[in-house]
């Protein structure tokens, strides 16, 4: 049924709340946790929140593009794992007894940046495949990426035989363990940098504008001369690129490649983007919103932990907030029939 046309004319509190629901929730949460536990309200703790959410944040930046085109990407957690084990396998210390690639002993040392890029390359290739599947076979993105999620996880496990890939060289781990300005971990910097890039791509390039058009009405986009297939391939490639970057950064930070890395992270990324107002009906969303969404989830994770709430209860609260945020959001941009 059509939204009541008359009530939209004059300003009302309901409209205001639904417009800024996420920020209201964020501020309320910070206030509650700050009162309950003073340790929450420290600069160090905020850096902690950012650090622990950066990898999921990168996934949110990636999947937001897919959701804007009215798709979804479930493969991101597995893509993290693939990029993790492939990059790590190139920079294991040669003194380690069970190298993934024993042949490395006979080769000149592979530079850290090559390993870094190789991990990203392998991970991102899954995005290209996802994009081609979605664009050309017309299978539903949920199914296409469900398939690649399973395949990528299988590939990571097969490659490592499910063993961790430890003992990584310091020049590689430094990429993940270093900080900027003496306090900001590199992974946070990467996340913030990528957020800026994502924002530029989405709002200041043709690709971004085309993505909104494709998600808003794919037939109209096509009739307007937009190359829908290219746009979709780009969205899924970008999404996997973000996940690969997260995978390699986490690997360098934890000094170990892990085939089970990122299990379930794709859903956290989707949740963050969704809380941040990226609509599943397509054509709507912003990077600022995504960051807000990540912060809401990060504050909940951290605040509940620091105030000593049961981890099981944490999940329940988190789930409830996701749903509430989306209910408000759907009122804001409801599509009219």
């Amino acid at each position: 049924m059509e939204a009541n046309a008359v009530s939209r004319k004059h300003f009302n509190t309901k409209a205001f709340i639904s417009k800024y629901a996420m920020y209201v929730i964020l501020i309320v949460l910070i206030a509650i946790f700050g009162f309950a536990q003073p340790a929450f309200f420290t600069g160090k703790n905020f850096v902690n929140i950012l650090t622990s959410e950066s990898s999921r944040g990168l996934l949110a930046l990636g999947v937001a593009f897919c959701i804007i085109t009215r798709g979804i990407d479930l493969s991101l957690g597995s893509v993290m794992a693939v990029s993790s084990v492939f990059s790590a396998s190139l920079v294991q210390k040669l003194t380690y007894s069970t190298l993934i690639l024993p042949g490395l002993v006979n080769l000149p040392e592979i530079p850290a940046w090559v390993a870094f890029l190789f991990g990203i390359l392998v991970g991102t290739s899954f995005g290209v495949i996802n994009g081609l599947l979605v664009a050309y076979t017309k299978i539903h993105p949920f199914i296409a990426t469900l398939g690649s999620m399973t395949i990528a996880r299988g590939l990571a496990l097969l490659y490592t035989n499910a063993y961790p890939v430890p003992m990584l060289r310091e020049d590689f781990t430094h990429i993940g363990q270093g900080t900027m300005f003496g306090f900001l971990p590199n992974i946070v910097c990467v996340f913030l940098l990528m957020a800026v890039v994502a924002n530029v791509l989405l709002n200041h390039t043709r690709f971004g504008k085309n993505m909104f058009a494709v998600g808003g009405n794919v037939d109209a986009a096509r009739a307007s001369g937009i190359n829908v297939e290219k746009t979709l391939v780009f969205a899924y490639t970008w999404s996997a690129f973000c996940a690969s970057l997260a995978g390699v950064m986490v690997t360098a930070r934890s000094a170990s490649g892990i085939a089970s890395l990122g299990d379930g992270y794709e859903l956290d990324g989707i949740a963050a983007a969704t809380v941040g107002g990226v609509s599943q009906t397509g054509g709507v969303g912003s990077i600022v919103g995504c960051i807000g969404g990540i912060l809401v989830l990060g504050v909940i994770n951290n605040g509940l932990l620091i105030t000593g709430v049961s981890p099981y209860l944490q999940k329940i609260i988190k789930g409830a907030i996701i749903v509430i945020a989306v209910v408000f959001d759907m009122r804001k941009v409801a599509r009219k029939k």
């Binding site: 046309a5 709002n203 058009a213 009739a223 937009i226 054509g283 009219k336």
Partner: protein
């Protein structure tokens, strides 16, 4: 017992930017068929949607059998005995006829289990009582549109409807099916059911209706017994303004040929279409719904594969495989289905205006020039008078006419040489219609070549320099403006003799 089964008194309804109904009154006698007439956007459908609770009216009263009622949704309407047969049916195609007939109220046993035996027995009885020959076990999706419509009417009757609203029920029926429908309507009238019959087709009004009420620009402009009126009177009431204002045709210089089409075909949808198109010309495509006119445009624009024929632009063979190719040849296409292939509902007016032309807004450094988008959007909003609160308003919040103008702006911005316009004024109000007409004429005056598909005969006759007529996927003739009359066009549109079951679309 009141004299009227239904009275709607002083009903008003507005949408953002449009006053759709202004103090409209309407009275319906029991056991009569009452026609509602008026051009698209005159307010007939809006009034009916207010009646069945799809829209809430801003003011006015509804009386049923003399008692005031408030109807908030279609369910309440059906409790008051009002049912509407929509123009576009939405049956559950994978379920049986009986299940559709009793959708939402299937008979149950012990409170939960569906009583299939009773369901099919009841359905059979209902269909039989109306003389409808349909097997209740048949899958709904296997029926013709006409039969689906009959099931829909049977459903209304089985809900004890005393008032049935039919919105252009014959728009996709053959003439044999129309006769069957009329038979059913007469049977309903015998039973004392009142029918509100929305239609554009004069001959139907005079063959089935008892009374007629005419709408124009959201107002009720006349109501009378059908036996007291005639076609001329009705047209005068409906149009109410001189045709020159509706169709501000300015003859402009028609110059060189820009596009030549030889023997074009696309699969089994159409074949053998040949014509040429000149700068400054408006070429009309006339024909019945389903004749293949839209498909020709889609094929020329790269939205549909070309299976035969040659297209030349400026004398050179043009290969157009996708809309992006068409854009490179400076072609533009205003599609028929505004919601389906036109607007991007959740995007702003400005984004919708520039979406087909973004390449011209990319700076040298690869970034979008938002300031230029904003100023061009403002220019076009002013130039073609789009009524919108701001350029950042979502297009879905605009009226149909203004959405259409946004789409016109989208294509004007690409500065096309060749413009395809498919049913440009479908579903928009009369005022906006005249403005769109004058826009189209102005574009032709600027030397653009225009092809316009329209099912509205006055639009075709009033606007076009030449008219190409199609019938069932074949081109049956091209006539000049001077030789064109409604009768001649209909001759071509229904020609090739073999098939006479097709109904008149206009």
């Amino acid at each position: 017992m009141s004299e009227y089964v239904l009275e709607m008194i002083d009903v008003s309804k507005s949408f953002p930017g449009v006053q759709a109904l202004k103090n409209v009154s309407f009275r319906l006698r029991p056991g009569t068929v009452h026609a509602l007439m008026g051009e698209n956007g005159a307010g007939k459908s809006t009034l009916m949607k207010c009646l069945i609770g799809l829209y809430q009216m801003n003011s006015g009263r509804v009386l049923i059998n003399g008692e005031e009622v408030h109807i908030n949704n279609p369910l309440e309407a059906s409790r008051h005995g009002i049912s509407m047969i929509h123009q576009e049916l939405s049956p559950v195609k994978d379920r049986s006829v009986a299940e559709n007939l009793y959708l939402g109220r299937v008979p149950v046993r012990a409170g939960v289990f569906i009583d299939h035996k009773k369901l099919y027995r009841l359905a059979g009885e209902t269909l039989q009582s109306l003389g409808i020959d349909i097997n209740p076990y048949e899958k709904m999706g296997n029926l013709t549109v006409a039969k689906m419509q009959m099931v829909e009417i049977a459903k209304a009757v089985s809900q004890d409807a005393s008032i049935i609203v039919m919105d252009e029920p014959t728009s996709s029926l053959t003439s044999v099916e129309v006769e069957q429908l009329f038979g059913m309507i007469r049977a309903l009238r015998e039973k004392g059911v009142s029918v509100i019959y929305i239609s554009h087709k004069m001959e139907e009004i005079f063959s089935i209706c008892d009374e007629v009420t005419v709408f124009r620009d959201g107002q009720m402009v006349g109501t009378d017994l059908v036996s007291n009126t005639n076609v001329t009177k009705l047209i005068h009431l409906m149009v109410g303004r001189d045709l020159d204002a509706m169709f501000p045709k300015v003859t402009c210089p028609i110059t060189d040929v820009i596009m030549e089409v030889h023997d074009l075909a696309s699969g089994d949808r159409f074949s053998g279409v040949s014509f040429d198109l000149r700068r400054g010309e408006i070429l009309g495509f006339a024909g019945l719904v389903g004749a293949g006119r839209t498909e020709v445009l889609e094929t020329l624009f790269g939205l549909r594969p070309k299976t035969a024929g040659v297209v030349k632009i400026n004398g050179k063979v043009a290969e157009i495989r996708r809309p992006a190719d068409a854009l490179r040849y400076n072609m533009a296409m205003l599609t028929e289905d505004r919601r389906g292939t036109g607007i991007i509902p959740v995007s702003s007016v400005a984004s919708n205006i520039v979406v087909a032309n973004l390449k011209n807004y990319v700076r040298k450094n690869g970034l979008i020039n938002h300031r230029k988008i904003s100023s061009d959007a403002s220019t076009y909003i002013r130039k073609i008078e789009i009524k919108t609160p701001s350029k950042e308003t979502l297009i879905q919040d605009l009226s149909g006419g203004n959405q259409q103008k946004v789409l016109v702006a989208r294509w004007l911005l690409t500065e096309p040489d060749i413009l395809f316009i498919d049913e440009p004024t479908r579903g928009i109000d009369v005022g906006a219609k005249a403005e769109i007409h004058s826009l189209i004429t102005r574009m032709a005056g600027e030397g653009k070549a225009i092809i316009m598909v329209s099912s509205e005969m006055p639009e075709i006759l009033g606007m076009c320099d030449r008219i190409l007529i199609m019938h069932e996927g074949r081109q049956t003739g091209i006539i000049d403006r001077g030789d064109a009359t409604q009768e001649r066009i209909m001759e071509f549109a229904t020609s090739t003799g073999a098939d006479t079951t097709e109904s008149h679309a206009i």
